[in-house]
């Protein structure tokens, strides 16, 4: 094994408390350049909370979030978006009344300095065209985003994230609502996207669909009741007794 590269995005010792509920306690999550990392766990394990901490929607009670050596724990969501953290949502958050193309353009403009004044139009066109090619969104460009079925909607959300030139993409259950064919296509696209530009963007995904996770992830972090119970490559996670116990409700299942 080569020496471990510096993580691109690292959350360390993260704790989040909602009133009396300890949603996360002392959790570490890392995403290294070029990798697809997975974050899994039973319902209520704190996966989405961790995502919200990483994207700045929740301020953790304790712990640090570091992006490529910069402490961003106190940064608001939009600043992180500009610094290169892009995310998708479990429930689609498309700009429903815009076309797919406008969704992508708006994402580029939102994440680039001066975008709102129309600066960098040539760069914008180039990047949007690249993303459209990569995700094969061409046929959808003129469609109203709110009318798309979930599978295509997820693809557009990924495209929107890519238009921000992200360093890390956080995908919140990209497989939910997709059928087997769409899931397979999504994982193929994901592999093509991850690390395509000098190890960026790296991907962190939260997912319930184990097949997808085991298929695409290089490294998996498992949460249960707000604690990290395991981390490692898919094979190791599959065989980990603690993980099995968590998923099977603590029963001793062979």
């Amino acid at each position: 094994m080569s020496p471990e590269p510096e993580p691109l995005l690292a959350a360390s010792q993260i704790s989040v408390r909602f009133g009396g509920l300890q949603a996360l306690s002392d959790v570490d999550v890392e995403v290294r350049p070029g990798e697809i990392a997975g974050l899994i766990g039973p319902n209520g394990a704190g996966k989405t909370t961790m995502f919200n901490v990483l994207s700045g929607l929740i301020t953790p009670t304790a712990g640090r979030v570091v992006l490529a050596g910069t402490d961003i724990t106190r940064w608001p969501p939009h600043r992180r978006g500009r610094a290169g953290i892009a995310r998708t949502f479990q429930r689609l958050e498309l700009f429903a009344r815009m076309t797919v193309e406008e969704n992508l353009v708006a994402a580029w403009e939102a994440s680039h300095r001066g975008g709102v004044f129309g600066r960098g139009r040539a760069d914008r066109r180039r990047r949007v065209a690249e993303v459209v090619d990569l995700l094969d969104l061409g046929p959808l460009l003129a469609r109203q985003a709110g009318e798309l079925p979930t599978g295509q909607g997820r693809m557009v959300e990924l495209g929107r994230a890519l238009c921000t030139d992200p360093r890390v993409i956080l995908l919140d259950e990209p497989g939910s609502g997709l059928d087997a064919v769409e899931t397979a296509r999504f994982s193929a696209v994901l592999r093509a996207v991850a690390g395509a530009r000098h190890g960026e963007p790296a991907v962190l995904l939260v997912e319930h669909d184990m097949a997808l996770v085991m298929d695409v992830c290089d490294r998996i972090t498992v949460l249960d009741f707000g604690r990290r119970i395991a981390v490692g490559d898919p094979a190791r996670i599959r065989d980990d007794p603690a993980v099995q116990a968590a998923y099977l409700g603590g029963a001793d299942v062979a």
């Binding site: 815009m98 353009v105 709102v116 109203q144 184990m210 099977l248």
Partner: protein
């Protein structure tokens, strides 16, 4: 000490009526999710009805009052329930607009039905007083307190200790779930609306003898009670009542120091100040009713709020502006002035289209900014002899910090609460700023000169008209260009998904503040022209009612399109024309009806009529052959098989309904699940048995 004590007692008496009204407002909000801006108008309408029954038709109070409370008010309540129930699940904006439309409807209909002049209303309780310690208390005051206590207590008892109360709480908690367990939510809502209307009728009848029976006064006085209602976070009846009492006491205590001047203005502003401060402080803890049961995202109509091609807008806009520029050739004198006023109004309306239609921030305070612009120009260009342009710029500059203030409120509030906060802001501006005679000339107002720009005088009606049309053309073209570019996209993504926009890198705070400031400045520019157009302005031109009328006209024209602003201006100018008096009197009524019907159509009159025309044409087309429709009887070959086990659902535990390929049946008292796992992902299902409850 005794003075303070007696003021407190009088405050309790006065506050009890606010408490009654606040409970009425809270009741429909918590059961039906509708904040009734028209509450005061209902009270006013009922008071007029009582006047008609009692004073005009000479029915005794023993007949007139029951007739009002048992027939008229409940019928109004039922009508409102019918109006609002199809709107549940709509965005807050739609309900706000409809309820403001009802307010306008009642304000327009009352003079038509009962005559518009002020009336005196006989109090239902005797005017004489009795002694309470050293204090003279009117029987009417005592009566009011007792009525409000009995009704408030009765309502509280009804909601706490009866089946109806349980049903109401179930509906409030979760409308859909209550329906599933067999509670008729419609019935609960109907009763709530009726009770709320009866309270409003009482408020009207009890307040009118002291406040005077007037179309506008009661509407505004009832706004006082919005602060106590918000104190109860719009859901707590006891808090609303207590808030009303406290408000009454505070206002009563302030009378100790005030008879006129600043303190009097401050006293009148207390309810609005309280409303504004409460909203901002409670902020994020205020929830919109109905957000818990967020509607399934219905695919929006393709055109709704969509930003269409710039070319088409230009194609339509060019001839319109051409005609406006050419108008002085055909029309002169006062008629031209009426059109010019409409054009100025359109400039102001553009600021509201941008703010409300595009940025999704509802504002009931836009005319406060107009007033700032007008009075600033009046002072600088009129009194101090400055030229017009620097004066107008100064007005815009003053509007910016005020826009930021409202913008700050918008950071913590949205939808209904933002509308309430802007309303409070407008009323505060009326009372605290526009009421200063030193600033605005009081009732007589001040004069504003027509502008001179670069040695050219725009004093003549024709020249001023050309100037105003020119400004509107620039404003509309600028807005259209922004709308079709990155700025328009930025505003649109903030409406569609603020969450996604912020994670992509949009600073919501800055965007909202800039939007409010810019729209405030634009309204102030409109105000500078408005002042110059009117030549003489008074504070009455810029009250909350003016802001309300602007919103209604913009909704009528189309709040999400620039043509909506132009139409708003057109309607405004039609009102000014010397039409037959019967026509003039019906215009507000027509506007109110139009607003209620068009509330759901952000593109307003033109787009909706075009859409309807298209639909009528479609209806005339022959139908395709109807497809065969399967029935859910459990035996059909539909992909989803459902079989209800009625015995199991009625009592003794529910039987779960299983869905999946084939048609499984659910036996009473058992839960059956059938997972439809695609063959390619068996691993996932195998590892997730934890989520399947074990039911035997």
């Amino acid at each position: 000490m005794s003075v303070v004590w007696s003021l407190v007692v009088l405050g309790v008496f006065a506050g009890s009526i606010y408490g009654l009204a606040a409970m009425g407002v809270v009741l429909t909000y918590k059961t039906a999710g509708v904040f009734n801006f028209a509450y005061g108008a209902i009270a006013m309408f009922c008071a007029y009805t009582y006047w008609k029954l009692h004073d005009a038709w000479h029915l005794t109070a023993w007949i007139a009052l029951p007739l009002l409370l048992v027939v008229v008010a409940p019928v109004i309540g039922l009508l409102l329930e019918r109006l609002f129930s199809p709107l549940s699940g709509e965005r807050a904006e739609v309900q706000i607009v409809v309820s403001l439309g009802v307010l306008a409807l009642l304000e327009a209909a009352t003079p038509l039905l009962y005559g518009g002049e002020d009336r005196g209303l006989q109090p239902i309780f005797p005017r004489s007083t009795f002694r309470l310690g050293s204090l003279h208390v009117g029987w009417d005051q005592l009566g009011t307190l007792l009525v409000s206590l009995v009704l408030g207590g009765g309502l509280w008892w009804l909601l706490r200790h009866t089946r109806f109360g349980t049903a109401t709480r179930a509906v409030v908690d979760n409308r859909d779930l209550a329906g599933i367990i067999g509670i008729n939510g419609d019935w609960v809502r109907r009763v709530a609306w009726m009770v709320s209307s009866v309270f409003a009728a009482l408020v009207g009848v009890l307040l009118s003898p002291s406040q005077g029976l007037d179309v506008y006064v009661l509407t505004v006085v009832v706004i006082y009670t919005f602060a106590p209602a918000v104190l109860g976070r719009l859901v707590s009846l006891p808090w609303a009542y207590a808030g009303g009492i406290v408000l009454g006491v505070v206002m009563s205590l302030l009378t100790e120091w005030s008879s006129s001047g600043t303190v009097a203005d401050l006293e009148a502003s207390i309810p609005y100040l309280a409303l504004f401060v409460l909203l901002v402080v409670l902020g994020s803890r205020l929830r919109e009713a109905g957000l818990a049961v967020r509607p399934v995202r219905s695919a929006p109509a393709p055109t709704a709020g969509a930003r269409r091609g710039l070319g088409r807008s230009l194609a339509v806009g060019t001839p319109v502006f051409g005609a406006l520029f050419a108008l002085p050739l055909a029309l002169g004198g006062p008629h031209l002035g009426d059109v010019t006023s409409g054009v100025m109004y359109a400039v102001i309306a553009v600021s509201l289209v941008v703010l409300t239609g595009w940025a999704g921030q509802i504002s009931l305070a836009q005319f406060s900014f107009v007033g700032i612009g007008a009075f600033t120009v009046g002072h600088l260009a009129g009194t101090h002899g400055q030229t017009f342009v620097p004066a107008a710029l100064a007005g815009m500059a003053i509007a910016v910090p005020l826009g930021l203030l409202v913008g700050l409120a918008s950071l913590r509030l949205s939808g209904l609460y933002l509308a309430l906060a802007t309303m409070a802001f407008a009323l505060l501006m009326d009372n605290l700023v526009f009421n200063r005679p030193g600033l605005t000339g009081g009732y007589t107002g001040i004069t504003v000169p027509r502008p001179r720009l670069g040695g050219i005088s725009f004093a003549s009606p024709a020249a001023f008209h050309e100037l105003v049309v020119g400004v509107l053309a620039v404003v509309v073209l600028g807005a259209a260009l922004l709308h079709h570019g990155p700025v328009g996209r930025r505003l649109q993504i903030l409406r569609d998904s603020p969450l996604a926009a912020s994670t992509l890198g949009v600073n919501l705070t800055v965007t909202k503040l800039v939007t409010f400031a810019a729209c405030g400045a634009l309204a102030a520019l409109g105000g500078a022209l408005y002042g110059a157009g009117q030549r003489a302005i008074t504070p009455a031109d810029f009250t909350f009612s003016a802001s309300l009328q602007l919103l209604l006209l913009v909704v009528l024209g189309g709040r999400a399109v620039l043509s909506g602003a132009l139409l708003a201006g057109a309607v405004y100018s039609v009102q000014l024309f010397p039409l037959p008096i019967t026509v003039i009197r019906y215009i507000p009524l027509a506007v109110a009806f139009g607003v209620i019907f068009l509330a759901r159509q952000p593109e307003g009159t033109v787009a909706t009529s075009a859409g309807e025309a298209r639909r009528i044409l479609t209806v005339l087309r022959p139908l395709p052959r109807p497809a065969t429709v399967g029935r859910f009887d459990g035996s059909c070959p539909a992909p989803i098989g459902l079989r209800w086990a009625p015995a199991g659902t009625a009592r003794g535990g529910a039987a779960a309904v299983a869905a999946g390929p084939g048609a499984p049946s659910a036996a009473p008292g058992t839960a059956t699940a059938l997972a439809g796992a695609p063959a390619s992902v068996p691993v996932a299902r195998a590892t997730a048995p934890r989520e399947v409850p074990s039911v035997t």
